[in-house]
C-alpha cells in the first residue's frame, strides 16, 4: 500500500492520529492545520518515512525499548527507570512562567549550555492557544517555550526539517509520549536507505501527558469563559477538583471538566503511555498524596538513561534545580496512574477493533498489555 494511503486508512480515518508531526517536514505531501494532519497529494512510495515514524503504526514497543535501554532498568508500569525525583527550577524567573516547577525549561537550557545538545525542538505554548513547534538554540528561545498547551501542534515536523537540513548534530527533543515514541522510531532507523540524519538526534525529554484536546474545541471553550488573548496559562489540577483552570490576567477561571472531556482528541483515547516511556528523562507535575498544595509548583522527574542521569546530577551540582525528598508512596502512586492510562487505552482500542484480541497498532506489543 502507498504510504500516504496507509497512514490515511490505518491512522487518520480510524481516529488514531496524535498530530505529533512525525510524518511531516520531509516531503510536500503531509501537513497539519489546527492539529489536523492532512495529506495534500498521494505519494507513490510504498515504504515512506511518514509511516515508519508514525507512533500509531504497528511496532513492537518492547523490542524498540530494549534496543535503547538496558533490560534491567525497565519497570513494566512506567518503562525504563533509574530514579524518581521532585525538583523545581532554582531560578524564580523560570518558575514564574512555568507550568509547574520549570524543571524542563531549566534542564533544556542547561543541556544546551553544557553541550549535551546543540538545539532543542520544543513547543511554544503561547499561553495555551495556537501553540507551535520551534527549534530553540538559545536560553531565551528555550524559556519562551515554558508552559503547556492542550492543543497539539505538529512539533516533530520542526524536528524533521532540522534533521534534514543537517545543520545541528545533537538536537534535543521535548515532547509528549506520542512524540517521544516517534523520535525513538526515528532513532531506530527503520528505513536503511534514508534515515533523515537520525544520528543528529541528541537527547529526548519526555513530558507526562494525560491527553490533548481538539484544537477548535478548546479555542471555542476558552472563548466562552475568558478572553483568549488574555489567557496566559492553562492547567488541569488533580482529579478531585474536576476542573480546567484558565489564568486570565492573573485571575484563575475554573471550567468544569465535564465541558472539557468531550474535547479530548480521538487519538489520545488510544494512548497507553502517560509518562513518556521513550525518553532520557521524563518530567511532569508533582502530585502529592497529601494534597494539591503540598507539591504545587514542583515537578516529578523520571530519569531513564545514563545521559539523563548525568544531566540531572549536573543540574543538582550547579544549583540549577532545587530538589525535595520524594515521598515513599510517590513511585507507587505514579505507577498506579500510569497503569490507569494503559488500561483505558487498551479498553478503547478493543472497542475500536471490536475484538478482545485485537489491539490495533499495539498488536506487535500485545505481550506488554496481556494482563490488562
Amino acid at each position: 500500500m502507498l504510504s500516504t494511503i496507509a497512514l490515511d486508512t490505518q491512522v487518520i480515518k480510524p481516529g488514531l492520529c496524535t498530530g505529533c508531526g512525525a510524518c511531516q517536514g520531509m516531503c510536500p505531501y503531509w501537513d497539519s492545520v489546527e492539529g489536523r494532519t492532512l495529506c495534500y497529494f498521494d505519494c507513490e512510495r510504498k515504504s515512506g518515512r511518514c509511516q515508519s515514524f508514525c507512533p500509531r503504526m504497528p511496532m513492537d514497543l518492547d523490542a524498540l525499548r530494549k534496543k535503547f535501554f538496558p533490560e534491567d532498568t525497565i519497570i513494566p508500569e512506567i518503562g525504563p527507570f533509574r530514579g524518581l525525583y521532585l525538583t523545581r527550577a532554582a531560578d524564580p524567573a523560570i518558575r514564574a512562567k512555568a507550568q509547574h516547577g520549570g524543571t524542563m525549561t531549566a534542564l533544556v537550557e542547561l543541556a544546551i549550555q553544557e553541550g549535551f545538545i546543540d538545539a532543542a525542538v520544543m513547543t511554544r505554548s503561547q499561553g495555551g492557544l495556537e501553540p507551535e513547534g520551534v527549534l530553540a538554540t538559545t536560553a531565551e528561545e528555550v524559556r519562551a517555550c515554558s508552559g503547556s498547551s492542550f492543543q497539539v501542534p505538529p512539533t516533530l515536523a520542526v524536528l524533521n526539517k532540522a534533521l534534514k537540513e543537517d545543520r545541528y548534530h545533537s538536537i534535543g527533543v521535548v515532547g509528549t509520549p506520542c512524540k517521544t515514541l516517534a523520535v525513538y522510531k526515528m532513532k531506530s532507523k527503520p528505513l536503511a536507505e534514508n534515515d533523515n540524519h537520525a544520528d543528529n538526534i541528541g537527547m529526548v525529554f519526555g513530558l507526562f501527558c494525560g491527553w490533548g484536546l481538539d484544537w477548535e474545541g478548546i479555542r471555542d471553550l476558552t472563548a466562552r469563559h475568558a478572553d483568549p488573548e488574555k489567557v496566559s496559562h492553562m492547567d488541569i489540577p488533580p482529579s478531585k477538583y474536576h476542573s480546567l483552570e484558565l489564568r486570565e490576567n492573573g485571575e484563575t477561571v475554573s471550567v468544569n471538566l465535564d465541558e472539557v472531556t468531550p474535547l479530548v482528541r480521538s487519538g489520545c483515547r488510544y494512548c497507553t503511555d502517560m509518562t513518556a516511556e521513550f525518553a532520557d528523562l521524563s518530567v511532569g507535575g508533582a502530585r502529592s498524596a497529601d494534597g494539591w498544595d503540598v507539591d504545587k509548583g514542583w515537578n516529578q522527574v523520571i530519569v531513564r538513561s545514563e545521559k539523563g542521569m548525568q544531566l540531572l546530577e549536573l543540574a543538582r551540582e550547579k544549583g540549577i534545580l532545587e530538589f525535595k525528598d520524594t515521598p515513599e508512596t510517590g513511585l507507587d502512586k505514579l505507577k498506579g496512574a500510569s497503569m490507569g492510562k494503559k488500561r483505558t487505552g487498551v479498553k478503547n482500542l478493543r472497542q475500536l477493533t471490536g475484538s478482545e484480541d485485537d489491539l490495533g497498532y499495539l498488536n506487535p506489543s500485545a505481550e506488554l498489555f496481556k494482563d490488562l
Binding site: M26, C27, P28, Y29, D31, V33, R36, L38, C39, Y40, F41, C43, E44, R45, G48, R49, N194, E216
Partner: protein, 623 residues
C-alpha cells in the same frame, strides 16, 4: 477569401467555405460566440468585414448573437449567426420565438455539431432543434456544398420568411476540399428601413403561419439540388446518408465493390424531409442503412415515412447497433455496416503498427496559470475540516476535473452553470451543509453567462467563493476577443471592461490574486473560504500561450541536478508527477528532475514548489 474570381478553384476548409459563402451572399451582419469546431468562421469574417462593408462581432454569448441576427433581419439585412451545438441550445428560446414570428431579411444559422466530442463535453444533435422549432435545416457534405449552401440558404430564408439552419459537423468544419468560387456581389444585400407596420412579433396565432411555411419548404425540398441519388435504378439495398455519411458511404461502397447493387441516397435537406422524393427511392427496397452523425434522427424519420405507407423494409443504422450509438462515423465502421447490409466481405485492412499508443490525458499547457490555481485550491481545500464542494464550468479549466487540476471538481454542467449550482450549495450551508463551496469560471465565461448567476448569488448572499480565472483570453477556442480584452472582432480598440469593477458594481466583494504567487494566493483563498457570504476572487495571470507570443526571450527555468536529490528526496518526483507541467520531466539516466527547455515557457512556479530548491530561474526579457 475576398477575391472576386468566379470559377477559380480554391482549397478550403469547411469553416472557410462558410465564410466565402457568406461573402457571396452579401451578408450585412454576422455574430457569433466562439465554440469549436466552428470558432474560426467569425474570426475570418471579422477580418474582411470592413472591406466587404458588413458588421461582424464576437458577441458576449450565443443568445446575444442570435437575437442580434434576428434584429438585423428586421431591417431586411442578411444576417449570419455561427454557433456550436451547445450555443444553439443556449439560444433555443430565441430561435423558437424567431421561427414563430419569422424573418424579413435572410437569416442563416450555422451550427457545428461535434460527434465524438473532440472539443465538447457532449455529442448533442442539433437536428432536434430544427425539428422542435420548425426551422428548415440543411447539411452539406463537401466543401463545395458548404459554400454553395450559404447563398442558397439566404435565398430560401427570404423566400419563406423563415430562418434557415446549416448543420455542420467537425469533419466538415475542419476538413479540406476544392471549392469553385462564385461571384462576389458588388455591394452587400440591400437593407430597408424598418417600416412603421413591419412586424416580427412572437404571438401564438403565428404558429399556423409557421406550419404553413414548413409545408412550403417540404415542397421546395422535393426538388432541391442538394439531394442526390447514385446507384442502380431499383436497388434492394439502399443507403441513406446525411452529411459526412455520404462520403464515408461512397468510399465504403468502392472498397466493398457493391456499387452495382447498392443505392446511395444523399440528403442535404435534413428538415423537413422531402417525403415524396424519399418514398420514390424506397420503392422496391428491402433493406435500408442510414449513415448519419450522432443520433438516429434520419433513421427514425425514414421508419416513420415507410411505416405510414405500409412498406416492408428492414432498417439499420445507429438505432439497431449496425453503427455505434456514440462517436462519429468513420470509413471502417461505415464499411462494416455496409458489409453487414450487403453480405459483401470486408477487405483486409493494413495495420500501420501493432504498437499501442500511449494513453495520455488532456492537460494544461506548460506555464498555464490554471495548473497553479487548481494546485493551490486543492491544497487549501485539504486544509479545511471537511472536503469542499467545487463546481466546474466550461473552458480550458474543465480539464481541472482530471489529473491536470488535481481532480478539482465534483460537478460540471453547462456553460455558466457553475455559479448557480454553487449558489444552491452556498444557500444550503445555512441549513446544515457544513462545507466550503467554490466555483470557477473563465473571464470569457464570466461575461457569457456567469453575470446573471452572480447577481442572483450576491443578491441572495450565498456562502461561496467564485474564482474568476482571468487569463485575458478565450483560450480554449483560440483567443477570440471578449469584453475584457479591449478589442473587437473587426479589430477596433475599445475600452476593456474591468471584471473587478463589474463585480463590485453589483455590490459584491472582489479581490485579485496571482496564481503564480503560490504562497500568498494560498492564504488569500483560505481567508476567502472562511469569509461568510458571496466572495469573488479574480485569479489574474495571462494565458501561457499568449505570454509566449509576447515574450522575446522567456525566463529560463532549469533543474540544478547537483541540488536535486532525485529518489533520495522525500518529494517522490513532485515536479513531474504531482505538479505535472509538461515542461517538468524526469531524467531517467541521472535519476534527477529535468525541465524540457523546448516545452517550458518560464512561469517558474515549479521552482517555488521544489522542496530542495533545485529548480532555478534566470531572468528573461520582455519583447
Amino acid at each position: 477569401m475576398t477575391a472576386n474570381a468566379p470559377g477559380q478553384v480554391c482549397l478550403m476548409q469547411g469553416n472557410e467555405a462558410i465564410v466565402r459563402g457568406a461573402l457571396e451572399a452579401g451578408i450585412n451582419f454576422a455574430a457569433s460566440y466562439p465554440g469549436s469546431p466552428s470558432s474560426q468562421v467569425l474570426g475570418m469574417l471579422g477580418k474582411v468585414a470592413r472591406e466587404r462593408n458588413f458588421y461582424a462581432e464576437w458577441s458576449t454569448n450565443e443568445t446575444c448573437a442570435m437575437e442580434a441576427c434576428i434584429g438585423a433581419s428586421l431591417a431586411n439585412a442578411r444576417s449570419l449567426c455561427i454557433v456550436k451545438q451547445n450555443g444553439l441550445l443556449f439560444a433555443a428560446d430565441a430561435i423558437h420565438c424567431g421561427a414563430q414570428h419569422g424573418v424579413k431579411g435572410g437569416m442563416v444559422i450555422v451550427t457545428s455539431d461535434d460527434p465524438s466530442a473532440h472539443s465538447s463535453t457532449n455529442e448533442f444533435d442539433s437536428r432536434y432543434q430544427a425539428m422542435s422549432a420548425n426551422i428548415p435545416m440543411l447539411e452539406p457534405t463537401s466543401m463545395q456544398e458548404t459554400k454553395d449552401m450559404v447563398p442558397y440558404a439566404f435565398e430560401l430564408s427570404e423566400r419563406t420568411h423563415q430562418m434557415v439552419i446549416i448543420r455542420l459537423t467537425t469533419r466538415v468544419c475542419h476538413g479540406r476540399g476544392n471549392v469553385v468560387l462564385g461571384e462576389l456581389p458588388e455591394k452587400p444585400h440591400q437593407m430597408k428601413q424598418v417600416g412603421e407596420w413591419d412586424r416580427m412579433v412572437c404571438v401564438s396565432y403565428l404558429r399556423s403561419a409557421m406550419l404553413q411555411k414548413m409545408d412550403m419548404l417540404r415542397q421546395e425540398f422535393e426538388n432541391c439540388p442538394y439531394n442526390h441519388y447514385a446507384g442502380p435504378d431499383h436497388p434492394k439495398e439502399l443507403i441513406v446518408a446525411g452529411g459526412t455519411g455520404r462520403l464515408y458511404g461512397q468510399e465504403a461502397i468502392r472498397r466493398l465493390g457493391v456499387g452495382d447493387r447498392v443505392g446511395l441516397l444523399s440528403l442535404g435537406t435534413i428538415w423537413p424531409l422531402p417525403e415524396a422524393y424519399i418514398l420514390r427511392h424506397l420503392e422496391g427496397v428491402e433493406k435500408v442503412l442510414t449513415l448519419e452523425e450522432v443520433d438516429p434522427v434520419l433513421e427514425r424519420n425514414l421508419q416513420a415515412i415507410a411505416g405510414s405507407h405500409q412498406m416492408q423494409i428492414t432498417f439499420s443504422g445507429r438505432e439497431d447497433g449496425a453503427l455505434p450509438k456514440i462517436g462519429e462515423l468513420d470509413p471502417d465502421n461505415v464499411a462494416q455496416a455496409i458489409s453487414l447490409l450487403t453480405g459483401a466481405k470486408l477487405p483486409e485492412k493494413k495495420i500501420a503498427s501493432q504498437e499501442p499508443l500511449i494513453e495520455r490525458e488532456l492537460t494544461f499547457c506548460a506555464g498555464c496559470p490554471h495548473r497553479a490555481t487548481f494546485h493551490i485550491l486543492k491544497k487549501v481545500l485539504r486544509q479545511e475540516k471537511h472536503p469542499g464542494a467545487v463546481i466546474g464550468d466550461i473552458g480550458c479549466y474543465i480539464m481541472s476535473g482530471q489529473a491536470a487540476g488535481q481532480y478539482a471538481f465534483q460537478a460540471c454542467n453547462c456553460m455558466g452553470s457553475g455559479i448557480n449550482l454553487a449558489e444552491a450549495l452556498g444557500q444550503l450551508t445555512h441549513y446544515g451543509l457544513d462545507q466550503k463551496v467554490v466555483t470557477v469560471c473563465g473571464d470569457s465565461t464570466f461575461f457569457h453567462t456567469i453575470l446573471p448567476g452572480l447577481v442572483n448569488a450576491t443578491y441572495h448572499n450565498a456562502n461561496m467563493l467564485l474564482m474568476v480565472l482571468d487569463n485575458s483570453a478565450t483560450a480554449m477556442t483560440g483567443f477570440q476577443p471578449h469584453p475584457a480584452t479591449g478589442i473587437t472582432a473587426m479589430g477596433d480598440q475599445v475600452p476593456p471592461m474591468d471584471i473587478q469593477k463589474v463585480v463590485e458594481g453589483i455590490g459584491c466583494k472582489a479581490e485579485v490574486a496571482d496564481p503564480f504567487d503560490v504562497k500568498e494566493t494560498e492564504k488569500t483563498i483560505r481567508r476567502l473560504l472562511n469569509t461568510p457570504g458571496m466572495n469573488v476572487l479574480i485569479m489574474r495571470q495571462p494565458c501561457a500561450t499568449l505570454m509566449t507570443k509576447k515574450k522575446k526571450r522567456p525566463v529560463k527555468v532549469y533543474v540544478d541536478q547537483n541540488m536535486c536529490l532525485g529518489d533520495g528526496c522525500g518529494c517522490d518526483k513532485y515536479c513531474s508527477r504531482v505538479w505535472g507541467c509538461p515542461g517538468n520531466t524526469w531524467d531517467f539516466k541521472n535519476n534527477k528532475a529535468y525541465i524540457d527547455p523546448v516545452t517550458c515557457v518560464g512561469c517558474g512556479v515549479c521552482a517555488k514548489l521544489c522542496p530542495s530548491g533545485a529548480i532555478k530561474v534566470e531572468g528573461g526579457e520582455e519583447a
